[in-house]
């Protein structure tokens, strides 16, 4: 009678795709299905708008199509820009309306329509300086301009669930080949910078399945990574040149690391030493609670056109029917912050890989794909901000001994002040080579005091002692707005890297 447990995510996602999702509790964001033309595998590797307001859709194996958006999500006018099957195309940048920069497994390619017939006729290799060993996981993606004419590109590691060929492009390192996810060829597990002339500069190391990269409003570089070996839970990093972000295999290609000993094996360094070497995440996304497989993040630059979260970061989830929202702040010079769902279920598929705002800012397009990594959850959807009111945690700030939470709507002050409605836990994710980490040292924290501001928009939560290097997870039970709206997403998780003075 006990049915066998499905042991792989593919089955899970297949099911998730087939299952009707639970309707979202509010109508602030509406999910719509964008129909792609027949014959195009809707496995979205990149999304961008050109200057004409057309949506450029890069697919992983069915070329590039360009669509004229319409109000009716099923009525886009599509044209084919390239019918070539690129090799796992996962990065897209519109340089001109007739010229795209695309990343695929082996290289960065400039794809141009030179004769103006609307179809690409040149595929110029801009950079192929990284290695490729046959891993299905050896992503090259997320082309992010650095603002000075160069581009950052994510170079992912290979997984033990894939192949290593007996012939590799680029130098093969038997030491780099060791491990769960590995870096047997050059710059796997790095963020690299590519100059317009194609020169590649290794920028930062320690990544595993880095599938998200974007530039912040202040020009800083942000990267997400996926939970797994040496990545206790999926992180968000602020990437700086020369720093190491935790997954050791990439270090075999670090000239500093191997300077005195070319045979130095990063996996033999020991977890304690590696832990001390790494730059810790700005935000940790609690696995199984917030997000399991972060995709390409985006900052909300819509100035309010997409709702009340202007300036915040959104992170799509590949293995969940959700887009996450990240609230960042600097405390005593240290970046940290919290995450909370932005949209969850309500018709949203999983597989969320790439997101882009419509030119008018009212709509977030989400391109989905999981094919070959997990079970297929493929497609293109868009999330439209309806303007309907929603009660959500708008911001959260660490204060000495507690947190200030602000809300998008005034909360019902009496009930919101009840301590019993504030479930707070704190825990941490220890660093090790294990595939993900369980929460450690979980403690329930009983708030000492909840003070709601007169306007009902801010709650000051006094917790007493707060400890660094821990996550504080709030589960706000039964909070409602003064107008009776339920709190849309009651779980918020804040990563404390630095205490407030």
């Amino acid at each position: 009678m006990i049915r066998p447990t499905l042991s792989c995510l593919s089955a899970a996602l297949l099911l998730a795709a087939a299952l009707p999702a639970h309707a979202a509790p509010t109508g602030a964001y509406a999910v719509e299905e964008i129909k792609l033309p027949k014959g195009i595998a809707p496995e979205i590797g990149g999304l961008a708008f050109n200057s004409k307001g057309e949506l450029v859709v890069l697919t992983r194996r069915s070329g590039i199509i360009i669509g004229k958006p319409s109000k009716d999500p099923g009525a886009f006018e599509w044209r084919v820009f390239s019918d070539q099957s690129l090799h796992e195309a996962l990065g897209l940048l519109v340089e001109k309306d007739n010229q795209l920069l695309v990343s695929q497994f082996p290289e960065l390619t400039r794809i141009t329509d030179t004769d103006g017939d609307g179809v690409a006729d040149r595929y110029d290799t801009v950079c192929d300086a990284w290695g490729l060993s046959g891993g299905y996981h050896e992503n090259a993606g997320n082309i992010t301009p650095d603002g000075e004419g160069n581009w950052f590109v994510n170079i992912g590691t290979a997984s033990k669930n894939g192949i290593t060929f007996d012939r590799t492009r680029g130098r093969f390192s038997p030491i780099g080949r060791r491990g769960r996810n590995f870096s047997s060829v050059e710059y796997r597990g790095w963020v690299v910078k590519v100059k317009p002339d194609g020169t590649m500069i290794p920028w930062a190391s320690g990544f595993r399945a880095n599938n998200g990269l974007c530039l912040g409003p202040d020009g800083s570089l942000w990267a997400t990574d996926n939970q797994g070996d040496y990545i206790p839970t999926s992180p968000l990093h602020r990437v700086e040149k020369g720093k190491f972000y935790g997954h050791p295999s990439s270090l075999v290609w670090d000239q500093e690391f191997v300077r005195d000993n070319p045979q130095r094996d990063p996996l033999n360094e020991g977890n304690e030493k590696l832990d001390a070497m790494r730059t810790k995440p700005v935000v940790q996304f609690p696995h199984g609670i917030m997000i399991n497989s972060p995709g390409d993040p985006i900052f909300d630059r819509t100035k309010g056109k997409f709702g009340p979260f202007a300036g915040q970061m959104f992170v799509p989830d590949e293995s969940g029917q959700r887009i996450l929202r990240v609230m960042l702040e600097q405390v005593d010079g240290v970046w940290q912050g919290a995450c909370v769902p932005l949209v969850q279920d309500g018709g949203l598929r999983a597989g969320n890989n790439r997101v882009v705002f419509s030119p008018d800012g009212t709509t977030l397009y989400t391109g989905q794909t999981m094919r070959g990594w997990g079970g297929p959850v493929e497609g293109l959807q868009r999330i439209v901000y309806t303007g309907q009111p929603q009660l959500a945690v708008k911001e959260i700030h660490l204060k000495p001994g507690g947190f200030d939470l602000t809300f998008t709507q005034p909360v019902e002050r009496t009930s919101a002040a009840e301590i019993g409605r504030w479930r707070v836990q704190s825990y941490r994710y220890p660093y090790s080579q294990q595939y993900g980490s369980p929460q450690a040292d979980l403690t329930t924290v009983t708030p000492q005091q909840i003070a709601i501001s007169d306007d009902g928009l801010t709650a000051r939560v006094t917790l007493g002692e707060i400890t660094r290097d821990r996550i504080y997870q709030f589960d706000l039970l039964g909070l409602t707005s003064a107008a009776g709206l339920p709190l849309a997403h009651p779980t918020v998780a804040y990563t404390v890297n630095q205490l407030a003075k």
Binding site: T5, Q84, R177
Partner: protein, 427 residues
């Protein structure tokens, strides 16, 4: 374990002896059946309260309709918080033991079950009336993901469960609707260009001079962080940077962007991408065997070093990309000072043509062919000295090689080597 099997075996063997005239068992009362689903992605059971008679036989089913793994642990009144703490304290052990702590407070529990799975547990409801909480003890879930089983006394009425319907908008299976196939094919009029991992039909080492060797590795145990003594993980034959072009069932070739040369050509089909893209419209990848399958018969296989000799032969030629002429790429690359453009076309009968344009030639362009393939090759320009072709500078911007097909070998991956189609768990 052995002892258990032995006993089990004994009981089966022994059964007939007692079954000759079995007493008719009294029909057991029908058990109370309760199914609990999960609101996808929300850390909430869809049923948060149900009633049951004291002492009733209960079949409690957890149907994981969520996108995360969950369990269901039924505990004594007031013990839920205690269980959350105890589950957490299990640490790395937890997952193996389904995050169910050994505790007298646990009345029944399921395993941690994955999305889509169902598990039923049988139990006898407590005889003491009261509110018995159930919760998911997966880390981070336990404080919110809860419900309560109310055990009602003999005289109490059973009230309706508090349940939310797990329903919402239908999700479209866009991949299935796309009608794409994992067996692409071009035509003479519209060649199809496919960049992919490609098969290596046992090309000679000299052809792949600018690749490095991928080596087998020791299996690695992520839980200990050590290599293990198990069977080596092999390095598999395959090429990482192929560009395959199909002109229909009667001609296809693979050009390689690392070696910058035509590697092989074949007739009778193209690449079956099913191992890499999945069957039908796509889906699962062959776990450790996703090199596409070459369908047809090889008619040309490169041999020897790159024909162009300029600069340092060890230096990898620089691949510059391609432009598309009538749907067919003209590849560009640099060898030493030479900028070479080559355009490969099928010609009838039974041959292919390579149109070359070489820029920057200051002296005659020399192409040296391996003796094994030299008899297949002729040129409309220049002169031959043995296996070496010399193209005068003034013809270097336009000359054609004709490559006659060699009735070739079929190249098939041994189906026995293909593992069962599975996909990895992590993206």
């Amino acid at each position: 374990m052995l002892r258990f099997s032995f006993l089990a075996l004994l009981s089966i063997l022994a059964f007939p002896a007692f079954a000759v005239d079995p007493p008719k068992p009294a029909k057991p009362p029908k058990p109370t059946r309760v199914e609990i689903q999960v609101i996808p992605g929300t850390l909430r059971y869809a049923t948060t309260r149900f009633d049951v008679k004291a002492g009733a036989e209960l079949e409690l089913t957890l149907k994981n309709t969520c996108i995360m793994p969950h369990n269901l642990v039924l505990v004594l009144p007031g013990k839920a918080d205690e269980l959350v703490v105890a589950a957490m304290a299990m640490g790395a052990d937890g997952l193996v033991k389904n995050y169910v702590p050994v505790s007298d407070a646990v009345l029944a529990s399921t395993k941690i079950i994955n999305p889509g799975a169902t598990e039923m547990v049988k139990l006898t409801a407590p005889t003491t009336a009261g509110e018995y909480p159930y919760l998911c003890t997966f880390p981070g879930h336990g404080t919110i993901m809860r419900g309560v089983m109310r055990v009602r006394g003999e005289t109490d009425a059973l009230e309706k469960s508090i349940s939310e319907k797990v329903s919402g908008p239908e999700l479209v299976n866009a991949l299935r609707e796309s009608g794409v196939t994992s067996k692409p094919m071009g035509s003479r009029q519209r060649p199809f260009v496919l960049r992919s991992f490609v098969p290596n039909p046992m090309l000679p080492d000299a052809v792949l001079a600018h690749h490095d060797r991928g080596l087998p590795a020791r299996p690695y145990d992520v839980s200990t962080g050590q290599d293990t003594t198990g069977k080596e993980v092999p390095a598999i034959p395959g090429l990482p940077t192929g560009i395959a072009v199909s002109f229909g069932p009667d001609f296809a070739y693979v050009w390689d962007s690392t070696e910058c040369r035509l590697l092989y050509a074949w007739t009778g089909g193209f690449l079956d991408m099913t191992p890499y893209w999945g069957g039908g419209t796509g889906g699962g990848r062959e776990s450790n065997a996703y090199v596409p399958l070459l369908e047809g018969t090889l008619v040309y296989k490169a041999a020897g070093a790159l024909p162009f000799r300029s600069g340092d032969a060890k230096q990898r030629p620089k691949f510059r990309g391609y432009r598309v002429l009538s749907g067919n790429p003209e590849f560009s690359y640099e060898v030493g000072d030479l900028k070479i453009h080559e355009h490969i076309m099928p010609t009838d009968p039974g041959s292919l043509m390579i149109h070359y344009r070489v820029e920057n030639a200051r002296e005659p362009v020399v192409l040296t062919f391996d003796p094994a393939i030299r008899p297949q090759i002729s040129c409309d320009q220049g002169g031959w000295k043995g296996d070496t072709l010399e193209i005068p500078v003034d013809h270097s911007d336009h000359f054609m090689l004709l490559v006659r097909f060699q009735p070739g070998e079929t190249f098939k991956v041994d189906p026995a080597k293909l593992k069962k189609r599975t996909t990895s768990q992590e993206p």
